[in-house]
């Protein structure tokens, strides 16, 4: 596959001028094929260097705009760095110590995790349910799939404006409906749990259909034969879903959970725009001030780049940590599952099932054997 056998067309055109110089060198004059040697050398260089050249733009740009800022955030975080006056004194881990003892930081973490759980858990359940609905033999499949995806095309800013208006405490749609039902209006924008529910509902509304489609794809990748043989063994739809579909989509589920974690722990737009009339970012008493919002407030309202960078790194570590926990939990579930399969209970049950099905087939087999033996003589 290397270019030692390259005919003149390709590389010759490309490296034409340089290859043309080759005969002028003394060594080249001795050999009848000097051009092809130089050309092959250039060709070899092409083969060697090209792969690196193709991946280089990505790595260079990514290093500049993705990794360098992240690493430099750490440098900023160990300095007393101000938005206006720039780099100050080296303070070591003081910024971290200050943040780890700051109740506002912990408040922001609590809010972030609370909103994340309120959105991730119901969303995953609903998405699995919708995916199971879509995984049936529907008419107009594409229509339904597009239907559940509709909210995804509404941008988070628009979603927040719409929901913020609906959750308005005085004139909002939700409280109006509650009042019609004789329920006291809820302080969606001034109480902790209601505000978290409201913000989680925005995330859920936009992302459930999207995740349902991902899970649907995973469900369709589960081998059909498994369902068929389970069905032959008398497993109903629910049983098949629990015993075949759910284990089959577990890797995808983990993928969805990890993506949701990385995104969910960085939630910003929704709490930022939820209540524009609040002078503090994230609610009058920081009811729904998430960590990224807290970081933003520290950095760009109060100008404390040092502490804000410490918060960024702490959040970074938390996100990586949660990702790793997800990973290990899912791995231990997988291995526990393998053990579970090896347990006598399950094995015995399966053996019993097999015996049963063999018995079911046996008469037919005996019959056909008899049939064969009868036919043989004739």
């Amino acid at each position: 596959m290397t270019s030692t056998i390259s005919p003149p067309s390709g590389p010759a055109q490309k490296h034409g001028p340089r290859a043309g110089k080759a005969p002028a060198t003394p060594e080249a004059a001795e050999s009848p094929r000097p051009r092809s040697t130089l050309r092959s050398r250039l060709g070899a260089l092409d083969v060697k260097a090209s792969p690196y050249l193709y991946v280089a733009p990505f790595f260079i740009l990514f290093a500049l705009v993705g990794l360098f800022p992240l690493v430099y955030t750490f440098v900023v975080s160990i300095n007393d760095w101000d938005l206006l006056s720039g780099a100050g004194e080296w303070v070591g881990l003081e910024n971290y110590a200050a943040e780890l003892t700051d109740p506002y930081f912990w408040n922001s973490l609590f809010n972030t995790f609370s909103i994340f759980l309120l959105s991730a858990v119901p969303q995953l359940i609903a998405a699995t349910f919708i995916a199971a609905l879509l995984d049936q033999n529907l008419r107009a499949k594409t229509f339904w799939r597009m239907g559940v995806l509709l909210p995804y095309v509404v941008t988070p800013v628009a979603v927040t404006l719409i929901f913020s208006s609906a959750f308005d405490e005085k004139y909002g749609l939700i409280n109006n409906l509650l009042q019609m039902l004789d329920i006291d209006p809820v302080g969606w924008k001034s109480e902790v749990l209601p505000s978290h529910l409201a913000i989680a509902s925005m995330v859920n509304w936009r992302w459930t259909g999207y995740n349902a489609l991902i899970l649907l794809a995973a469900m369709q990748a589960v081998p059909r034969d498994l369902h068929e043989s389970a069905s032959l063994d008398g497993a109903g739809a629910l049983r098949r879903f629990v015993s075949i579909t759910l284990p089959g989509i577990r890797p995808t589920m983990i993928f969805v959970i990890i993506t949701a974690t990385v995104g969910g722990l960085q939630i910003f737009t929704e709490p930022k725009l939820f209540n524009p009339s609040s002078s503090t970012l994230g609610g009058p008493n920081r009811e729904y001030q998430t960590t990224v919002l807290y970081l933003w407030d520290l950095a760009f309202n109060r100008g404390d780049f040092g502490k804000a960078s410490a918060v960024a790194w702490l959040l970074f570590l938390i996100i990586i940590g949660v990702g790793l926990i997800n990973f290990f939990i899912s791995r231990s579930i997988a291995s526990a599952d393998a053990k579970h399969h090896a347990k006598p209970g399950r094995a015995a049950r399966r053996a019993a099932r097999e015996r049963k099905s063999r018995r079911a087939h046996e008469p037919a087999a005996r019959h056909s054997a008899a049939h064969d033996s009868k036919e043989d003589p004739s």
């Binding site: 559940v148 509709l150 960085q266 959040l315």
Partner: protein, 298 residues
């Protein structure tokens, strides 16, 4: 999907040939009942209603909003409200900014990802697996948390306030490279690359004539999603160029007035949603298959 061809024509089954029915166990491939469709319709309405409601609110007059019952049908003031939106924010300039920013990011991400993804999928070089592991590891790294140094860089270069600065952090993504690599590794047979090389094509010619044509479907999907992600981004454009806003930033500025007029805000939300709704109508199928393809690969 594979079951389509094996379907019996309908619930009647009168014309179903015996051989297709023979080994098909009950409960699989059966047409779902009304309950399924009912639930799906309910989910669809739940997804569509907030949009409809924003249009209803955005077309009402301010007074009508405070009524006890939410109106179900649009009012007549939509155009007047939109005119109010246009006088509050420079909608068209923001739309133009969003189009430019999203297009440049899309071209950059798709171009660099295809190039790098092709190299990872089909070329041999030392350190390849190590570099690929690096790409995969960075998939889960929240690069958004680097905004403080990024902001400092943009300020240093004097780029703040320009839409160029808005594009910078997302010109490449690890996901793009990963996605293209996963696609190309199966789609291009090694023999094809080798044949092109034997025919004397240089590496870049091979990429251009073998890699790119094969990559086209994945490039379209990646482009679609990159465009959407860039279009919906809010944090970075708000930070780096609030005075030269993208559509999302401009839209959020509608809300920042002292007195929030919901009808105007909703009219703005509707106007800002129209471009992506159009995209949804035109490319909804591709969005669906893209999400589903990404899932299987991912």
């Amino acid at each position: 999907m594979s079951t389509n061809t094996e379907l019996s024509p309908g619930p009647g089954t009168r014309t179903a040939p015996a051989k297709t029915r023979r080994k098909r166990p009950l409960g699989i491939d059966r047409r779902p009942g009304f309950l399924t469709y009912g639930l799906l319709i309910a989910f669809f309405l739940g997804g569509a209603y907030p949009l409809w409601w924003s249009f209803v609110t955005g077309s009402g007059s301010t007074g009508a909003f405070a009524g006890p019952l939410p109106p179900l049908f649009p009012g007549s003031a939509f155009l007047a409200n939109v005119a109010e939106v246009f006088s509050t924010i420079d909608f068209w300039a923001a739309l133009g900014n969003s189009v430019i920013v999203s297009s440049v990011i899309t071209i950059s991400v798709v171009g660099f990802s295809t190039l790098a993804g092709y190299s990872f999928a089909k070329l041999r070089f030392r350190g390849k697996s190590g570099l690929m592991v690096f790409v995969i590891a960075t998939l889960a790294v929240p690069t958004q948390l680097g905004i403080i140094p990024l902001f400092m860089m943009m300020k240093e270069f004097g780029w703040t306030g320009s839409i160029g600065a808005v594009m910078v952090p997302t010109l490449v993504t690890a996901f793009g490279v990963f996605f293209m690599r996963q696609y190309l590794v199966d789609v291009i047979p090694d023999e094809l690359v080798e044949a092109a090389r034997v025919d004397g094509a240089s590496m870049i010619q091979t990429f251009w004539h073998v890699g790119v044509p094969a990559a086209r479907p994945a490039m379209a999907i990646l482009g679609l999603f990159t465009f959407m992600t860039a279009w919906t981004d809010y944090l970075w454009p708000l930070l780096v160029a609030p005075q030269n806003p993208t559509l999302q930033v401009a839209l959020s500025q509608l809300q920042s007035a002292k007195y929030v007029d919901h009808t105007i805000v909703m009219a703005g939300a509707v106007m800002a949603t129209i471009p992506l709704l159009l995209l949804f109508v035109l490319a909804g199928k591709q969005l669906v298959s893209g999400i589903m393809a990404g899932a299987v690969k991912g």
